[in-house]
């Protein structure tokens, strides 16, 4: 039986590595929601990213190849979802859900056709930051992590600066808060939202790839299992601020890590395993209840179309 101290250390270390995929996804989602796009399809984008990373690894033998391929994948998903959510003004919740169904179908079918069978399972090695990594307690948990963790934290800091301390971020938030005012001030809401959706989807795809590269090392059917929706809750918990989202994501990492470690505590051996599996989901519901004061950016989730826009016609106007 492991001692209490080693369990705590394992939980903290696991929690940091488990938070990485969801941190990528949530930081991107924050950008999208700040600009007024509620990307419910985040789960599907993550799943596609995870699949692509596994497929690229199988073909090229390099995990970083999948990571690189997630970028164009995310951009493509972003443009497609922008077209649906923003340009065509489809209901974002419903369209996102159907995109998730589509992604589940495509990845499952491709997986069963091309990727089944025992492949090499490999995860990327951790980086040990010299000096800091040997600090007792915190060192192994924070400074001997996967490079994707450092990159995610860096991305959050950059996003925080851009969103809250630049003119561009101000425009983006204006487009999400009051699109009609932003448009009256001369901003192109559609273009701002395009950029935000592309960023959101790219980071979600990278998060999906991170899921393959860190957590499992291989693809399994429906491997995201609600991570995208957990990211939606983390964004609320972090109040749309990428720095707070790091903290929020870590809480979920903690809930996930507890689930793995508590099963090893003999005093709790009688508790069914399914109870531990449910902990992250219960925490998510608790967060949604607890964050009752949280206010979405006002325009988030609502379609908005600039007035007097030339619209695509199925039958040319001169026909009439």
């Amino acid at each position: 039986m492991s001692s209490a101290a080693s369990i705590v250390e394992a939980v903290v270390t696991d929690s940091v590595s488990l938070m990485v995929p969801v941190l990528w996804a949530a930081s991107g989602e924050a950008v999208g929601e700040q600009a007024g796009v509620l990307n419910v399809g985040i789960e599907g984008v993550m799943l596609l990213g995870a699949f692509l990373a596994a497929a690229a690894f199988r073909v090229t033998g390099s995990l970083w190849a999948g990571w690189a391929l997630s970028l164009p994948l995310g951009v493509a998903c972003g443009v497609l979802l922008w077209f649906l959510y923003v340009y065509r003004g489809c209901n974002q919740i419903v369209t996102g859900l159907l995109f998730n169904l589509f992604a589940l179908g495509v990845t499952t079918a491709l997986y069963e056709r091309y990727l089944t069978g025992a492949g090499i399972v490999l995860t990327i090695p951790n980086w040990n930051i010299p000096g800091l990594g040997s600090i007792p307690g915190v060192g192994p948990a924070v400074f001997q992590q996967s490079p994707l963790f450092y990159l995610a934290v860096l991305a959050c800091i950059v996003l925080w600066y851009v969103l809250w301390h630049s003119w561009f971020g101000l425009s983006l938030r204006a487009a999400g808060e009051k699109p009609q005012v932003a448009a009256a001030a001369g901003l192109s809401v559609l273009k701002l939202r395009l950029l935000a959706t592309v960023v959101a989807c790219t980071l979600a795809a990278l998060g999906g790839a991170a899921l393959t590269m860190i957590a499992t090392g291989t693809f399994t059917v429906d491997m995201t299992s609600g991570e995208g929706f957990i990211a939606l809750a983390i964004v609320i918990l972090g109040r749309w601020n990428p720095l707070w989202i790091i903290v929020g994501a870590w809480l979920f990492g903690l809930a996930d890590a507890l689930q793995f470690q508590l099963t090893t505590v003999s005093a709790l051996a009688g508790v069914p395993h399914d109870v531990w599996l449910s902990v992250p989901y219960l925490v998510t519901i608790a967060v949604v209840v607890w964050a009752r004061g949280a206010r979405y950016p006002e325009g988030t989730g609502a379609p908005w179309e600039p007035p007097h826009r030339r619209r695509f016609r199925l039958v040319p106007a001169w026909w009439r």
């Binding site: 929706f229 399914d274 009752r292 988030t300």
Partner: protein, 369 residues
């Protein structure tokens, strides 16, 4: 804003101007104009269907199979024989019910995507009642108990999400999805716990007398009639009762219906409860009518497909019947594929997703409730 639905209500009226307004048929100056409007309307359905056909063919070709053979196999696998047809009808029934589980709350602009969890909780309750009460009461009465227990617990599972929405304004999309994942864990616990059958991962079977038989030596049984009756009742409820009108009014314009004296909170809870009851009923019927035990994965993706079915039916309960039948053809045909072609059964999710997304993109169907 505490939730997404509230914002979309505000934007529903002014956000989306009607695209290419089509005048009522009486106002056309000439036959040519009437023709143009008819063409415009039908193009809005035909173009997305053609587009999604192309995308689906491309995906199947990408999987290394001939798309035309696969699509023909899907249709013949679902409608080819009396057995296939009865199987398709038996899949239609739960899809109609999970369609109602989405359609009624969606009409009130409540995004209940918890049909999946409500179905599993309903099935779990039905099995537990069947196993614990079984033997003490005669078969048909036990079947009724199972169905009632499943319906009630599905409603309660949905009311948990509805309660959170009402009490603190929590986003029901996230909550219902998490409740789905929790229900999956609950199912997993029940099939491995004290009620486990022991051989395969499922519970013991409920007593024989409590299950539906089958007609004409196929799988077809009363399940289908119950689903049709429930759809008819739901259609009547939504169109001909004050509460049904209230649910639709709340979805259309929250403030106006509040001013008109509708009790919004009660209607919200009612919409969630009725939706959950329909999904719970689907789960109970899967137990009583098909499997006679709780099996993980027996609900397929009915809960999620129900959302697509409800959208295609324009949230109208009676139109759910043909919509659910089409989806059942895709599902059953897709399932029959793995035996014949080298294509995963998951292709049916791709087909459904692509078709509904492109119908949404062309505004052939709209979520405006």
């Amino acid at each position: 804003m505490t939730d997404v639905a509230a914002a979309s209500v505000g934007a529903a009226g002014d956000g989306l101007p009607e695209q290419a307004p089509v005048a009522p048929s009486g106002e056309h100056d000439s036959a040519a104009e009437l023709l143009v409007s008819v063409v415009q309307r039908s193009l809005r359905v035909v173009l997305p269907l053609a587009g999604s056909f192309a995308v689906i063919c491309a995906v199947i070709a990408g999987l290394g199979s001939n798309p035309f053979t696969v699509l023909a196999d899907i249709v013949s696998g679902a409608l080819g024989s009396q057995f296939d047809l009865s199987e398709t009808l038996m899949v239609t029934a739960p899809l109609v019910l999970t369609g109602i589980a989405a359609a009624i709350p969606f009409s009130a602009r409540l995004w209940n995507i918890g049909g999946d969890g409500q179905l599993y909780v309903g099935a779990t309750a039905a099995v537990l009642v069947g196993l614990t009460v079984g033997g003490a009461v005669p078969g048909p009465l036990l079947a009724a108990f199972c169905v009632l227990a499943g319906t009630a617990s599905g409603a309660l599972w949905a009311l948990a999400a509805g309660g959170i929405k009402l009490a603190v304004g929590g986003n029901e999309v996230i909550v219902t999805l998490m409740l789905n994942l929790l229900a999956a864990n609950l199912t997993d616990y029940v099939v491995t716990g004290p009620w486990a059958q022991g051989i395969s991962p499922q519970t013991k079977s409920i007593p024989n007398g409590a299950t539906f038989g089958s007609f004409w030596q196929t799988g077809f049984n009363e399940t289908v009639f119950i689903a049709v009756a429930v759809a008819a009742a739901a259609g009547l409820f939504m169109s001909a009762t004050k509460s049904g009108f209230g649910i639709r009014a709340v979805g259309r314009n929250l403030d106006a219906s509040r001013l008109a004296g509708f009790r919004v909170r009660r209607l919200w809870l009612g919409a969630f409860g009725l939706g959950g009851a329909a999904a719970g009923l689907a789960g109970a019927l899967l137990v009583v009518g098909v499997h006679s035990a709780l099996i993980p994965g027996m609900g397929e993706q009915y809960g999620y497909d129900g959302i697509a079915v409800a959208l295609v039916a324009g949230l109208r309960p009676l139109l759910l019947l043909p919509a659910a039948f089409v989806f059942a053809v895709i599902e059953v045909g897709g399932t029959s594929l793995s035996a014949t072609a080298n294509v995963s059964t998951a292709i049916s999710y791709v087909i459904e997703g692509v078709i509904v997304i492109s119908l949404l993109a062309f505004r052939a169907i709209r979520v405006r409730t």
